[in-house]
């Protein structure tokens, strides 16, 4: 049974995206995980029109046939009547359907092989510039790491530069992982500054130096705004000080990397000193020791979730219960910033581990819904895409993943991935190698002919 469905939201979305490649699609009979912290619902329906989600509901018992027709009031036939658009229906048959994973603070798309220097744009330690560096200029949407992450259900990410000779690592970007040539969702979506042990080493060997570097930069940016910045007497280059203007005015987010509880308290104090700063705390291994202060400050956190070793003296109190404890205190916590070998596609595994903790006596874990939100809607909100990414709701971008099981479970994998409503290829260098070496038969020709 088909039904005609008129949708105002679809029209406005179409007007904005106007993506010729976007496919309209309706998915029915899905086990929907919204991404907002709620538990999954069965029998869900989701409609994507013009690259945007236009409807999500728990299903009304109605069954659709192979297509879902609707009236597109923005397009008329010769007689002025709205066009009837016939949209394919995917019957998920009870399979999991979720927003795509939002990977916060990654390095995907900026290197091919991280250890091959020439292929790696993830840092520019010999550059004369720092804060002004703009990672959006380096993103390669054809990177295999993007393709592999996409096949793992990651649809959107923030990408950060590694710091070089300055505590300011430069401006990060928000990207999509679509196969199309335009990866940038938002360029220069945040500035990154590194405090703690690493920042101290960069700045001259101690936290006293990194503190002064930070404050001098703020002062220079304020002077620049006031027209009082004197280039020849300044420590920052002109592009660097210019790039900090949106930071001090709160128009650009400032990600601050800090791990130790005392460093975190300094970050909170910074917000009192410079109230306009839109601070996001990154790292925060000892965040649980400052959880109440963090909650009161309203500063959200992007945490590496499974750190439980004193890897450095600033992480003595690291525990896998960190995220759960911060969450209990009322801190907004996303999972992200995971290490180089642990790829963004493993964020689901990380989130699942936090659910596992809820079964360990005295540990603080997350519910399934909370854990899933920590890799979808929460990182999206922190990144400035609240309601637009990492969530299944009308008006959000059409980043939707179908899975063959619980997305947090190790045995599960995406079966179909949509980004901005466009179904994505899931093949890559790895899948081609897999297919070539499915057997080792070279009786007719060498493997090089097997492609």
């Amino acid at each position: 049974m088909k039904r005609l469905f008129t949708l105002a939201a679809a029209c406005s979305a179409l007007a904005f995206t106007a993506s010729v490649a976007a496919q309209d699609v309706t998915i029915i009979n899905a086990k929907l995980a919204i991404g907002d912290g709620s538990e999954p619902i069965n029998g869900g329906v989701i409609r994507i029109r013009g690259g945007t989600i236009v409807l999500v509901d728990s299903g009304d018992g109605e069954t659709l046939g192979s297509s879902d027709d609707y009236l597109d009031v923005s397009r008329r036939d010769a007689s002025g009547q709205p066009l009837v658009i016939s949209v394919p229906v995917i019957d998920a048959k009870g399979a999991w359907v979720t927003p795509g994973i939002f990977a916060a603070v990654t390095d995907i798309g900026v290197f091919d092989v991280s250890g091959v220097r020439n292929s790696n744009d993830g840092g520019a330690s010999d550059s004369r510039f720092s804060a002004a560096l703009d990672i959006s200029q380096a993103i390669n949407p054809a990177s295999e790491h993007i393709a592999v992450s996409r096949a793992g259900g990651v649809t959107r990410a923030t990408v950060a530069h590694a710091p070089g000779d300055s505590i300011f690592a430069g401006q990060g970007a928000t990207i999509d992982l679509g196969v199309d040539p335009e990866p940038i969702t938002q360029a220069r979506s945040f500035q990154m500054v590194v405090l703690g042990e690493r920042g101290a080493r960069i700045a001259g060997g101690g936290r006293t130096a990194s503190n002064l570097e930070l404050r001098n930069a703020m002062a220079e940016a304020q002077a620049y705004v006031a027209g009082a910045w004197e280039g020849e007497d300044a420590l920052l280059t002109r592009p660097d000080v210019q790039s900090l203007v949106p930071v001090i005015s709160g128009k650009q987010k400032l990600y601050i990397h800090a791990e130790r509880a005392s460093d975190i308290r300094k970050v909170i104090a910074l917000k009192q000193e410079f109230p306009k700063l839109d601070i996001v705390l990154l790292g925060a291994s000892e965040g649980w020791l400052a959880a109440n202060a963090l909650a009161a400050s309203g500063i959200p956190v992007i945490a590496d979730p499974l750190d439980d070793l004193p890897s450095s003296f600033e992480q003595l109190a690291a525990t896998q219960s960190n995220v759960g404890r911060m969450r209990q205190a009322g801190v907004k916590v996303a999972i992200g910033g995971i290490g180089a070998f642990e790829q963004p596609r493993n964020l689901t595994q990380y989130a699942g581990n936090l659910v596992a903790l809820s079964k360990v006596p005295r540990a603080s874990g997350l519910t399934w819904g909370q854990a899933f939100a920590s890799i979808t809607s929460i990182p999206a909100e922190i990144s400035g895409l609240g309601g637009k990414a990492g969530i299944l709701q009308a008006g959000a971008m059409g980043d939707v993943v179908m899975w063959d099981g619980d997305p947090l479970e190790l045995s599960s994998n995406p079966t179909r991935v949509f980004i901005d409503g466009i179904e994505q290829p899931l093949s890559n260098h790895q899948t081609r190698l897999r297919d070539r070496y499915r057997d080792l038969d070279e009786s007719d020709l060498p493997k090089a002919y097997d492609w």
């Binding site: 003296f313 219960s321 581990n353 079964k359 190790l410 260098h429």
Partner: protein
């Protein structure tokens, strides 16, 4: 061993293990799903252990002798203790500061004279995390991969100890770490000395083996620490663990083993092993691998998550390893991901077989499989009780026994080790 003088045998005995099992109660785990580590599965089974040894493994009909503490495992799972064949706990301990960097004697391309155990810091907090989160009961500590021949490995039981001798796995053979490819040529080429190429790697290796053969076949009375290790390999007493990523290089190394008369017990980090499953099966060489690490260096660019499944399908030996203080806490999860990758391409590997990748196969490659690695009567009672399916992300060890002594219990805050380093510091005794 008739050609081995007494002095060379004496060289094998220093720094001997002082480990003795801690006391345990005779225990009966009943009602759990048992993976025996050797590919077997028993639903609702019973595991009996006493005096540090496995006494019996069977179904619910297995009689429980009197005096045994009964632990209800209904809804839970039992496996042998998990074994990590590739770890740097202790020689790259936490905190990972320069003062703790004791894994690479990167001063000569061949250092078979160094022994990893002389670098291991028993107070590394990583040992306890490996036990509590990963169920690790035994592990091999290797020298790093800067050198072509990095030195002897140390096989440890994962028990807290004041001394490394107190952790040494009694009766475990030594291994010797070798490394292929990028690392040795980068480290030494960067200093303008040999080797700076892969052919240089082989030339140095071959000459070193030639000299070792001369020593091994001649008069061993004059002590030479490096050559004693190499002679031990040629004698078959010391097992080769060879860091090697690329399929073509592994094939060359197998031939080098034929040239000089030694066997590679396991290739470690063998990300391209899936391309030569047939050769590895023929050689009887295990592949110790990550589930999905790839793309961080040139020789890892062809890493695929189906590696383990393709190897298993080729009837070659698979071991999941960590090489990482975090990964060692989740070997079970890594194995599960590797299994799932296989299933996606149509290779369905039973759960019980997957568990052997972390238990008996690792033990075989380390030469300790007659003592541990599976739940068989007479073997060490190295046992993990999991609070759910160990191949699920939602499960964690509930209890861990080493030689029948309960050394971790999630339900008992005091039944978990706290290293000297952590005492009196933030986070002491936390759940971690």
């Amino acid at each position: 061993m008739s050609n081995t003088p007494a002095s060379a045998e004496a060289a094998e005995t220093p720094y001997a293990s002082t480990y003795t099992p801690y006391p345990g109660a005779p225990t009966a785990l009943v009602g759990a799903t048992i993976y025996d580590g050797a590919g077997g599965r028993i639903d609702g089974g019973t595991v009996l252990f006493a005096d540090g040894k496995i006494v019996g493994v069977g179904g619910s009909e297995l009689a429980i002798p009197s005096g045994y503490t009964r632990i209800d495992g209904t809804g839970k799972f039992v496996t042998p203790g998990i074994i990590d064949i590739h770890s740097h706990l202790g020689n790259y301990p936490s905190p990972s500061v320069q003062a703790h960097s004791d894994g690479n004697e990167a001063t000569s391309p061949t250092t078979p004279d160094v022994w990893a155990e002389h670098s291991v810091w028993p107070q590394d907090p990583g040992f306890s995390r490996a036990m509590a989160n990963g169920g690790i009961t035994a592990l091999q500590i290797l020298p790093g991969s800067a050198n072509l021949m990095g030195g002897r490995t140390a096989t440890l039981k994962n028990v807290p100890s004041r001394t490394v001798q107190g952790m040494k796995f009694p009766g475990a053979p030594y291994g010797m770490k070798m490394a292929c490819g990028e690392n040795p040529k980068r480290v030494y080429g960067g200093r303008g000395r040999m080797p700076s190429t892969r052919m240089g790697n082989f030339a140095v290796n071959r000459q070193t083996w030639l000299d070792a053969k001369e020593y091994a076949e001649g008069d061993r009375d004059k002590r030479n620490l490096a050559k004693e290790t190499l002679a031990g390999v040629l004698d078959g007493d010391i097992l080769i663990h060879n860091h090697c990523y690329r399929a073509d290089e592994m094939a060359l190394v197998l031939d080098m083993g034929k040239e000089f008369g030694y066997k590679v017990s396991a290739f470690h980090h063998a990300v391209e092993a899936y391309k030569i499953g047939d050769l590895l099966k023929e050689a009887g060489t295990c592949s110790a691998i990550w589930a999905d690490w790839y793309g961080f260096k040139m020789e890892s660019y062809d890493g695929i998550p189906e590696n383990a499944a393709l190897l298993q399908n080729a009837d070659a030996c698979v071991v999941i390893h960590s090489d990482d203080e975090n990964g060692i806490q989740r070997l079970n999860q890594e194995a599960s991901k590797a299994q799932a990758a296989g299933k996606r391409m149509g290779i369905d590997i039973p759960d019980a077989t997957v568990i052997s990748w972390l238990t008996l196969n690792a033990a075989k490659a380390m030469g300790i499989d007659d003592m541990t690695g599976s739940l068989e009567s007479g073997k060490m009672a190295d046992v993990v009780l999991w609070n759910g399916d160990p191949l699920s992300v939602y499960s964690r060890p509930e209890k861990v026994w080493i030689d029948g002594a309960m050394l971790y219990d999630a339900n008992d805050p005091k039944r978990r080790p706290v290293s000297d380093f952590e005492l009196g510091q933030p986070g002491e005794g936390d759940v971690k």
